[in-house]
Amino acid sequence: MVQEQDQLEIKITSLLRAKDQEAISLIYKHYADTLYGFILKIIPSKEAAQDVLQDTFVKIWKNADKYDASKARLFTWFVNIARNTAIDKVRSAQFKRDNKTDSIENFVHKDVTGTEEINVADSGLQKIIQSLDEKHSILIELAYFKGYTQREIEEELGIPLGTIKTRIRSAIIELRKKLGSDFSRNLLTILLTLIVLYYTSD
């Protein structure tokens, strides 16, 4: 999977450099849903989120020559563009980021439980994400989806500035571990089930 993903990124990158329209089709096909879900985390309004998604694509196309593969993966670059576009939108006159002053409880309730939209990601992955330590998932939500600065996180969660960096790291390490272990466990379970099925059906 990872290799295919890398191949896809290479293909899109070269299409973007060549200013080939197919790049946008490919990006849309493979990343639009994820980017849309991402933007909805920052802007719950569907209409506004769709505007941001469109703007994101326009920016991707216009700034294609600025992408540097040695600095970040393509998807990270997309997400950064989407996040910045969304935050700009929120900060503009019609979108005050009210959520920011909400208590953590409200925040978790509103965002970790997801939007009303149909979530198309598979449920196994959802379970892994939900199984993350709450203090870790809040951190990833705030920094990744909301684009909170370290100082804003400090204000929001009351974590000292010095520990935010390392706390974020341990949050992502937990995420990596969960994703890794879940994959091998699934494989083992499926194999064992099949073997048992084979023998009992005889």
């Binding site: 191949q7 990343y31 998807f75 390392t166 995420l175």
Partner: protein, 271 residues
């Protein structure tokens, strides 16, 4: 530079999340070029976050792509959505498919293994059966070989030079009885050959006699069960016999013949 310390400071995560300061960013970017381990770690974190983001994906409305194409001034029909068979990177579909494939492969190899195991077992059983048959045939063959050898030895006796044959015919008591004595004065050996004698009662045995100077001389008892051992039985050699006779006597034989129980008799004609 202590890479471990640098990585565990959380700078990579903060860089990806856009939380790092400008100086930290340019620092990191130049370090990335120097230390390949750093880019590997960075990519791993990026991938984890990509999966995290894909867990929150929401289906974008159908008309959105056309809107984007319009905004960019693209003619959508020139470039229809790519049919590149690369899987959606943000979903676990590919992972699941390869899992399914792996599982299928496992089942197939399991089935194949069981099939070969059964085949092997069948072949083993067949081999055992054939082996048993072979052993039986071999021992049969050995038995027959022994019988043939014994019969050949008997044939040798019959073919010896200067053999004389005295045929003894049935008396009135048993008219169809017939037996012979093979008598060889050169090698001084004699044998009895029974062609037909009724089986004796269980308490009786046949006894051979030679008549020498008008008197019977005991030549021993013999059995009439057919077999390579009994077909030609050696009997004591008696000089100058005038006739041979067989009588039915009590088991073990009698010192003198019971004349009423004589079954065959034949005169010796000197050659």
């Amino acid at each position: 530079m202590d890479l471990k310390k640098y990585i565990s400071s959380g700078i990579l995560e903060n860089y990806i999340l856009g939380l790092a300061s400008k100086e930290e960013c340019s620092d990191l970017e130049s370090n990335l070029k120097l230390y390949p381990e750093l880019s590997i770690e960075l990519k791993t974190i990026e991938k984890a976050l990509e999966v995290f983001a894909s867990a929150h994906q929401v289906k974008a409305p159908a008309g959105l792509e056309a809107g984007i194409m319009d905004k960019l001034g693209f003619n959508k029909t020139v470039h229809p959505a790519s049919s590149t068979p690369i899987a959606k990177p943000s979903s676990h579909n590919t992972g699941f498919t390869s899992l399914l494939l792996a599982a299928l492969l496992c089942i197939l190899s399991l089935i194949a293994a069981i099939w070969f195991f059964n085949q092997n077992n069948n072949a083993r059983t067949e081999l055992n059966e054939v082996n048993d048959d072979y052993t039986t045939l071999k021992s049969d063959c050995e038995t027959k070989d022994g019988q043939i050898q014994a019969l050949e030895n008997k044939l040798q006796i019959l073919r010896e030079a200067n053999n004389l044959k005295v045929q003894m015919n049935g008396t009135d008591r048993v008219p169809d009885a017939i037996a012979s004595v093979i008598y060889n004065p050169t090698s001084k050996k004699s044998y009895i050959d029974v062609l037909h004698l009724p089986p004796p009662p269980s308490d009786k045995q046949y006894q051979l006699w030679a008549i020498v100077d008008g008197a019977p001389v005991d030549m021993g008892v013999f059995d009439v069960v057919f077999g390579e051992d009994t077909i030609l039985q050696e009997v004591p050699f008696i000089e100058k016999p005038q006739a041979f006779a067989v009588t039915l006597e009590k088991k073990g034989g009698s010192p003198t013949p019971t004349m009423e129980e004589m079954v065959v008799v034949g005169n010796f004609v000197a050659g």
